[in-house]
């Protein structure tokens, strides 16, 4: 029997799979499943979760196909996803796919609620299946990194130093979380992450950055304070919000290069 892990939904963690280490531990809002620190030992469970989830969704869509919207409860789709342990494994390891999973789940749900043709529902289902398998692949990769000691344990206290260029990585991951939360239909939470990321992370680097490229800071200021919050409040498509974030992340890559140059050229204290 699958255990309900609804509280997992709220915790805000983002490991950096690409660079294989956490740049900054993030305070958790809810309990963290210890299994995320033992990915290898739980891979079979995660794999079972994915297969179970795919089968449950397929059964629901098939029922819709045969008997129409009244025959199914589209809210069950969200229950399925929130009930699997894999949910937190992917949320802590590969946020972009986590967002895609939510986006596909809501794609299926909205299509059913709007009584769209089954073929359209199946398109969203295929996207969900692909995202789930992609997510499982990401978790397997993270498990390998974790086994090699390259992935730090998820912690609830901040003790690590973070350079300005590493802060840029953390900002980019926070922005991935914005898309994830928006795809999860948690707009207020997504907006709060934008606000907190600006105040607690971007603010700490923009002083150095503005000495290097004032124009770049100006456009990022606008992105953080106008463009992205407005895309969320205007209820744009998830893809449109994602495009805003991707555009910001490209600018942040430029910012990272400038900050690395600044770090290299900085004189010693003594």
């Amino acid at each position: 029997m699958k255990l309900a892990l609804n509280t997992m939904k709220t915790f805000g963690l983002s490991l950096v799979l690409a660079s294989a280490f956490i740049t900054q531990p993030v305070l958790a809002n809810g309990p963290i499943g210890e299994h995320v620190n033992h990915l290898k030992a739980n891979l079979k469970d995660y794999s079972d979760d994915v297969e179970w989830m795919i089968a449950k969704v397929d059964a629901l869509v098939t029922e819709y196909e045969k008997n129409g919207a009244k025959a199914v409860k589209s809210d069950d789709l969200i229950e399925y996803w929130e009930s699997v342990k894999f949910h937190s494994a992917i949320e802590t390891n590969y946020v972009p796919v986590y967002a895609s999973i939510w986006q596909s789940i809501y794609g299926i749900k909205m299509a059913i609620d709007d009584k769209k043709p089954a073929s359209e529902v199946r398109q969203h289902q295929q996207a969900l299946d692909a995202a789930l398998w992609q997510g499982l692949g990401a978790v397997k990769l993270a498990a390998d990194f974790q086994q090699k000691g390259l992935l730090k344990a998820v912690k609830a206290t901040a003790s690590e130093n973070m350079t300005q260029s590493a802060t840029i990585d953390e900002i980019k991951h926070k922005l991935d979380r914005v898309v994830a939360k928006y795809a999860e239909r948690l707009s207020d939470e997504a907006t709060q992450i934008v606000h907190d990321t600006y105040l607690h992370l971007f603010e700490g680097v923009e002083g150095t950055l503005i000495e290097k490229d004032a124009k770049l800071v100006e456009v990022l200021e606008k992105d953080f304070n106008v463009t992205l919050p407005k895309a969320i409040s205007d209820k744009k498509d998830v893809d449109q919000v994602r495009n805003v974030v991707i555009d910001m992340q490209e600018k942040l890559d430029r910012a990272k290069v400038l900050l690395e140059e600044a770090e290299k050229s900085r004189k010693d204290v003594f």
Binding site: T157, M162, L199, H200, I210, E211, A214, V217, E221
Partner: protein, 346 residues
């Protein structure tokens, strides 16, 4: 006897003024010139520092340099938001636990939490005397300062057109950029409450709000001033200096008010929580000529010890006339937030 132990012993007895040169220069009651790290004792053994985050990593560079110079120092650091660490220290003390030897806070408000709770150790006379007289406090040492300023657009205004009283700004016809949700702005409003009272402050907030445009942060305020979206802004000094460094032809300059909250100098600060002799000596490193110069040069912060140059582009502190405010009084933000909410600003 080793020099380090010798100095610790003398410092504890309060007789450092009798030391021969060059050590007497390093610990003189009224130092003529700032002290170099080369004149400070080596740090050895354990030291636990609670470090409030901020300053974009520059404090970390200072810590790395101190560790590099003192290889026998075993420095443990707990990092977190300054206010959270301040609360943690008070909570730990109530529980009978003392984990931190030192607390380095990015703003003096959090320092007030600790000193009000009676947890800070008294500052030795030699340390206190290095600070400029108006920044001497018994239980903590300001490390560097930041001053409230009025950045203005030089294409739209001359300095002479800007009132030199923060209260008069409210009655001017200038358009204003501000960031009321920003911690530095709230500390400034707290200072205004202390200096002018709640009624005058509430009226000021309401008047200014009518001609203000709100921004999330104070760099945003300064950039808006430079673009000409507003005539003037309320912001800490370093945003303007940094923007002008990156954009030398920026339409931007700084104006200052006179002896009021509008030119408040707030500070980061450090205090000792235990009798670990490394704690006070570590503070001496933070007040050294090298560290103070570094923070002034790289972070555009204002050195508060005597004899160090101001950041480039900022007038001498003696020419600015900031108000005399006990910075630890800025700790109590709740009445300020209540006032800002009841005035419709937040």
């Amino acid at each position: 006897m080793k020099r380090r132990i010798f100095i610790q012993g003398l410092a504890a007895l309060g007789v450092v003024g009798s030391m021969p040169l060059p050590l007497s220069r390093a610990f003189a009651a009224s130092p003529v010139s700032p002290i170099s790290v080369n004149d400070l004792p080596a740090l050895e053994g354990d030291l636990t520092l609670y470090l409030g985050r901020g300053e974009g990593g520059l404090y970390e560079n200072v810590l790395k340099s101190i560790e590099k110079k003192n290889p026998k120092l075993n420095l443990s650091i707990r990092r977190g938001p300054t206010a959270a660490l301040g609360n943690m220290i008070v909570a730990e003390a109530k529980a009978g636990v003392k984990r931190a030897d030192l607390f380095w806070a990015v703003d003096s408000g959090a320092i007030g939490l600790i000193t009000d709770a009676g947890l800070a150790k008294p500052l030795p006379g030699d340390l206190e005397s290095q600070l400029q007289p108006q920044f001497r406090y018994p239980g903590w040492a300001p490390v560097t300062g930041r001053i409230r300023t009025l950045p203005y657009n030089t294409k739209r205004l001359t300095k002479e057109q800007i009132p030199d009283s923060i209260m008069a700004i409210a009655d001017s016809d200038l358009s204003i950029g501000w960031a009321p949700a920003y911690a530095s702005f709230q500390s400034f409003v707290t200072a205004m409450r202390i200096l002018e009272g709640d009624d005058k402050t509430a009226k000021w907030l309401k008047k200014v709000q009518k001609r203000s445009k709100t921004y999330a942060g104070e760099l945003g305020v300064v950039m808006a001033v430079e673009r000409g979206e507003v005539d003037i802004g309320f912001a800490n000094h370093y945003y303007t200096l940094r923007l002008k460094s990156g954009k030398p032809d920026a339409n931007l300059d700084l104006a200052f008010t006179n002896q009021d909250a509008g030119c408040l100098v707030n500070a980061s600060g450090v205090l000792s929580l235990t009798d670990n002799p490394n704690a006070m000596n570590f503070m001496r490193y933070l007040l050294s000529a090298e560290v103070q110069s570094y923070l002034a040069r790289e972070a555009y912060e204002i050195p508060l010890i005597q004899g160090i140059e101001q950041p480039s582009g900022l007038p001498a502190l003696s020419a600015i006339s900031p108000p005399k405010v006990d910075l630890t009084q800025l700790a109590d933000l709740r009445p300020t937030l209540d006032l800002m909410r009841s005035s419709g600003v937040l």
